[in-house]
């Protein structure tokens, strides 16, 4: 295409070597990105292939004397919009690969045929429409930096805020309406004053008898389950550390001598090393296991 264009308009537009090289390097890359986007199973990989295509397009714009357009393409589309896509895809989860099972019979063949047909139609239409158009080149239209019409930025600004100002503002209004509508639909209305501020909640908590957080479950050498209750300094179980909805469970203890609170409470003193290796969960609600039977000390 590039060669054709150059041949058609060799008198006005000269395509430099650098531009040709960039085209033949990045053209296949952009195409590979597009194919990869369609063919890869993982949604995040698809998004990445699309990023590759968009980046290549951005470089194409820059090479073809439209640096502002290229930067906007990279910043807005590749930078912001695709990151938002990725954001959503990552929230969906990384195991969400496409299924290879065909749910509609012949769907894939039909899609292939119709897709190729559509691409052929559009391509042929555009080719016919632009066949005999004289090629001027963007530099001739918008001028170069420092010239009479000074470059890409001013040219775009002139068109956008001059000739198409109404369309520009209508588009802007449409986007704002869409954003406000999305906010309105996802917004949950709360009574003013219903939610308490952090300060109020903190103050209310300090008025109770427990300003600190609830004690966590006990973490012992043999159990760190939420079902293992925390202990009070005297060895008793801390009721405030019981997990909601889970029966508190006793934890096997290492043999211990001395008159600790645990011993007073009659906690198990398992004998021997093997017996001491018991874990949580054997019997939770039954009597406290051990207490000497069959466990020589």
């Amino acid at each position: 295409m590039n060669v054709l264009m150059a041949a058609a308009a060799d008198t006005e537009v000269v395509i430099g070597t650098g531009e040709t090289i960039v085209f033949w390097v990045l053209g296949p890359v952009a195409l590979a990105g597009a194919l990869g986007m369609v063919l890869s199973r993982n949604a995040v990989h698809s998004a990445l292939w699309l990023v590759l295509t968009m980046l290549s397009l951005g470089v194409f714009y820059v090479v073809q004397e439209a640096p502002f357009l290229g930067a906007a393409q990279i910043i807005v589309y590749t930078g912001a919009i695709m990151i938002l896509f990725l954001f959503v895809l990552m929230l969906v989860g990384r195991e969400s690969s496409d299924s290879v099972v065909e749910t509609l019979r012949g769907q894939r063949v039909a899609a292939l045929v119709l897709g190729i047909g559509f691409a052929g139609l559009v391509g042929a239409g555009i080719a016919r429409a632009t066949e005999d158009l004289p090629v001027a080149g963007l530099a001739a239209v918008q001028g170069t930096e420092g010239g009479a019409a000074a470059g890409n930025v001013e040219a775009i600004a002139g068109v956008l805020y001059g000739r198409f100002v109404l369309a520009f503002e209508v588009t802007g209004a449409l986007l704002i309406v869409a954003a406000v509508g999305a906010l309105l639909l996802t917004h949950t209305e709360r009574e003013p004053g219903a939610g308490r501020s952090q300060k109020e909640r903190s103050r209310a908590r300090f008025l109770t008898d427990r300003p600190q957080t609830l004690p966590g479950p006990g973490v012992y050498a043999r159990a760190n389950s939420v079902a293992a209750p925390g202990r009070l300094p005297d060895g008793g179980l801390a009721p405030s550390s019981f997990a909601t909805g889970i029966e508190p469970q006793r934890v096997d203890e290492l043999p211990r001598t001395g008159s600790t609170g645990a011993e007073r409470e009659g906690l198990p003193h398992a004998g021997g090393t093997d017996a001491a290796l018991g874990t949580i969960g054997g019997d939770s609600t039954g009597p406290v296991p051990g207490s000497g039977e069959g466990a020589p000390r």
Binding site: N42, V44, H45, L48, V51, L55, G58, P67, F68, A71, A72, I74, I75, T78, G79, A80, I83, L84, L86, F87, M90, L91, R94, E145, G146, G151, N152, V153, R203, F206, L207, D209, P211
Partner: protein, 479 residues
């Protein structure tokens, strides 16, 4: 915008005409400068933070510890490279590369100095410039987000994923604020090219104030203070630095997006982060602090802005900006995530938009009344800014009035103020305010290591952990 500067000021036509070996020298030079600045910035940060925390900081490797980051980097390269079993391998491999390349790329449009002579070739001290120079930096920082986001996602683990989700939202939000803050600079400089923005800050406006002639300020940090403040805040968020380091918050997310990374891949993330800091510091110097031009007292000397001297001014400005980064890290605690996002969207972005409106209005007024922009800024902007600041001061004093009154009464020894905050003491360990306090009659038992058996009573300073010479007489006979 006419270029007011001297012959050494490069224009856009000066770029893209270099010989290939000059380009090569510039590329290698920028690469070397960035790597060296990274090594320097890490040591600098550790030393400055250490001083702020009353420590000494690294002082073992090299002269005064300045080679510490080099040693750390070498050590990092020899660490085991771990590929997590659940990782998405190609993306996991690519992510640090994607983070690093744009970081290097962004520095190519930063002007380091005027036109100089390298081996007989006259060339500007800047790799490349374009009419959209600053947008290239923005585009590179937009690409850099991918490295962090994908690194977190591809690790196949929860904390990195949370970190990358945070960073995706954070960097997009703060990039908007950053872009808005730069728009005012574009409006004032009349260009998006970095070298022309530096040129636009060359000369201050000649002001005549009741017959008194003087030169007004030329730095955009002074002319566009709101933009400067927004930019500084936004880039801290953009580079994931404390107090906005939520994507890698150690106390919440282990290490954030790079939890699973090790060895050279981790080093690349580290490198990218510090290069980004250097780049945004350099961009701050370029956009707001006069670029490579000498600051005021030095600029009186005619040779200050010629030859290789501007490199010195430029890097001095960059180091000052780096110091601010470190200062913020050493001073401020991390924000909660919702407060952080609310600040970005509900404070920075609206303020930026209103500020653009103000600047554009001033520009339009300047054009209509045929005045110089600087004159309008000084004669209209400064009074408005003073009124605004005064109003804000009054408002804040009004708002804090109760607290101030209470504090003054408390200082005067008066009774505690009556009001809903005063609660009855509940229990013997409650202070009058209802808050639990340690018992005031606490007697600390004597330390068994002390020879003298005197107990440390209430009201005595128990110990500060610092060994002072006043306590040594008892300790000397222990030895």
């Amino acid at each position: 915008m006419s270029v007011l500067a001297a012959a050494d000021q490069p224009t856009l036509e000066d770029f893209g005409t270099d010989v290939w070996w000059i380009v090569l020298i510039k590329i290698v030079g920028i690469f070397g400068v960035l790597v060296l600045m990274t090594l320097f910035a890490i040591v600098f940060e550790r030393k400055v933070v250490a001083r702020m925390q009353q420590r000494i900081g690294p002082n073992r490797v090299g002269p005064r510890g300045y080679l510490q980051s080099l040693a750390d980097g070498l050590k990092l390269a020899f660490k085991e490279d771990i590929m997590p079993a659940l990782a998405d391998k190609p993306v996991y491999f690519l992510a640090p590369v994607i983070a690093t390349i744009p970081a290097f790329l962004a520095f190519s449009v930063i002007p380091l100095g005027p036109t100089v002579s390298i081996f007989g070739e006259r060339t500007p001290l800047q790799l490349i410039d374009s009419p959209i120079g600053v947008l290239i930096v923005l585009a590179c920082s937009a690409m850099g987000v991918y490295g962090i986001v994908l690194g977190g996602w591809a690790s196949g683990s929860t904390y990195p994923l949370l970190g990358s989700l945070r960073s995706a939202a954070q960097m997009i939000s703060y990039e908007i604020a950053m872009g808005l803050s730069i728009v005012a600079v574009f409006l004032y400089a009349g260009s998006m090219s970095t070298s022309e923005i530096v040129a636009a800050q060359a000369d201050g406006t000649q002001l005549s104030f009741f017959g008194l002639e003087f030169t007004g300020p030329s730095w955009f940090a002074v002319l566009l203070p709101v933009s400067f403040v927004i930019y500084v805040i936004a880039v801290v968020g953009e580079t994931n630095r404390a107090p906005f380091d939520l994507p890698e918050a150690e106390s919440e997310l282990v290490g954030g997006f790079h939890t699973e990374y090790s060895s050279l891949k981790f080093a690349l993330f580290f490198l990218a982060e510090y290069i980004n800091i250097v780049t945004v510091s350099a961009l701050a110097a370029t956009l707001f602090l006069g670029g490579w031009r000498a600051p005021w007292p030095i600029s009186i000397w005619d040779g200050a802005n010629t030859g290789w001297w501007p490199l010195l001014w430029f890097f001095a400005k960059v180091v000052v900006a780096l110091f601010v980064f470190v200062w913020l890290r050493g001073t401020l605690p991390r924000l909660r995530y919702d407060q952080f996002m609310r600040f970005g969207w509900k404070v920075l972005v609206p303020v930026g938009l209103v500020w653009i409106l103000v600047v554009a209005t001033l520009r339009a007024v300047a054009r209509e009344t045929d005045l110089d922009a600087g004159q309008v800024a000084v004669f209209v902007g400064v009074p408005i800014a003073l009124v605004l600041l005064g109003g804000l001061l009054l408002a804040s004093r009004m708002r804090n009035r109760d607290t101030r009154v209470a504090a003054r009464e408390a200082a005067a020894g008066g009774p505690a103020p009556a009001g809903p905050q005063v609660l009855d003491p509940r229990g013997r360990d409650r202070a009058p305010g209802g808050y639990p306090v340690p018992p005031m009659d606490l007697v600390v038992p004597p330390s068994p290591r002390l020879r003298s058996r005197e107990s440390v009573g209430a009201g005595t300073v128990v110990g500060t952990g610092r060994r002072s010479s006043s306590t040594t007489p008892e300790e000397t006979d222990d030895v």
